[in-house]
Amino acid sequence: MIHALTLILACQLAGETLTRLMGWPVPGPVLGMALLFALMLASPRIAALVIPTGEGILRHLSLLFVPAGVGVVGHVQMLGTQGAVILLALVLSTVLALAVGAGVFVIVARLTGAREDG
């Protein structure tokens, strides 16, 4: 478990360092994800090492958003008089983005024959 955690943190650290060094608009952990993915592809041993711990962290991914979410409660008044407009924009645009994104995925998958089971 300690080895897996070390590897995950090392990937995050490498990602943070690289993205700052290059001035890329990507968060360090996202670059770390790409790095870990490349390592897992390169070595089945690394994949086997990291899977149990990594899946343990991911099992309760929802929990990790709770502290930031609690911060929202104190900032609700920041929305001010425009709060209703902003909330409406968020709800409508999220529904639209979900529908368009999934719809385009399904249509292009059908056109290119990229079947779910194929």
């Binding site: 995950i8 995050q12 608009p25 990507v26 968060p27 360090g28 952990p29 996202v30 770390g32 994800m33 790409a34 870990l36 993915f37 592809l41 990291v50 711990t53 990594g54 962290i57 991911l58 991914l61 929802s62 929990l63 990790l64 958003f65 709770v66 502290p67 930031a68 979410g69 609690v70 911060g71 929202v72 409660v73 104190g74 900032h75 609700v76 920041m78 425009q82 407009v85 902003i86 909330l87 924009a89 968020l90 709800v91 645009s93 999220t94 529904v95 639209l96 983005a97 979900l98 368009v100 994104g101 999934a102 719809g103 385009v104 995925f105 399904v106 292009v108 998958a109 990229a114 779910e116």
Partner: protein
């Protein structure tokens, strides 16, 4: 025996109590969600946040004090994001086959998320500063804050909008996809990651492993694309 107020004044300043409270609130919320069969409208993040918000208000505790304990949980967001490589690795063959739909859905979903929010906000008279704050709301928090700041928005308010967007996405995705009769787990998950970043991804992981893996990729790719698209999109809505 020590006075209760004495114990409380010791505990209230200690990170332990708010770390424990965060976990307890989540365990309660997760048990409620699990017992009811994980329906979309019983969202564990939302329930835990409401419970803790009430607790902070009742005990007159500042968010800074709370965060001293909760930061240990918050810290794990970074490693968890790195760990999203694991579901992606499990789905690597499915992912390779779906490269074209992934790219098309990324572009369509990302553009829709940014442009529709800006169009609605613009039509209803939001200030240019609020539009800049709103533009990156579908992308993961660290990227969204950077974009908001560089466009002249308010990063703090963007952080709030990002989280609210994630919760909205997690609440609506299942009923919406059912109404639209979209059953492809790849499509459902990917669109969720693009529109509702990590909170949407957490929901997708609960529902189906393939949806979770594709949501993780959607979140990662949209972080990159929103950084490129948002400045251009904002320029389409002159004051």
């Amino acid at each position: 025996m020590a006075d209760f107020t004495e114990i409380w004044s010791y505990l209230a300043g200690d990170p332990l109590i708010w770390l424990a409270a965060t976990l307890i609130a989540y365990v309660i919320a997760d048990a409620a969600s699990s017992r009811m069969g994980r329906p979309a409208w019983v969202n564990p993040v939302l329930i835990a946040v409401v419970l803790l918000g009430a607790l902070l208000w009742l005990s007159d505790t500042s968010y800074d004090t709370y965060f001293e304990g909760a930061q240990f949980v918050h810290f794990l967001l970074g490693p968890a994001t790195v760990a999203l490589a694991i579901p992606l690795w499990h789905q690597r063959h499915a992912f390779r086959r779906a490269l074209l739909p992934v790219m098309a859905a990324l572009l369509a979903g990302s553009l829709t998320a940014i442009l529709s929010a800006l169009a609605i906000g613009h039509a209803l008279g939001l200030s240019p500063q609020l539009l800049a704050t709103l533009a990156p709301k579908s992308t993961t928090a660290p990227v969204a804050l950077g974009i908001s700041e560089s466009l002249g928005g308010s990063p703090t308010l963007t952080a709030v909008l990002v989280i609210v967007t994630g919760i909205i996405g997690a609440l609506v995705v299942t009923p919406l996809m059912n109404v639209l009769k979209i059953r492809d787990w790849r499509a459902r998950g990917f669109a969720t990651g693009v529109a509702a970043h990590g909170i949407g991804t957490a929901r997708a992981l609960q529902v189906h492993p393939q949806a979770g893996a594709f949501a993780g990729i959607g979140m990662a790719l949209n972080a990159l694309l929103t950084a490129l698209l948002a400045p251009w999109a904002l320029g389409l809505f002159p004051r």
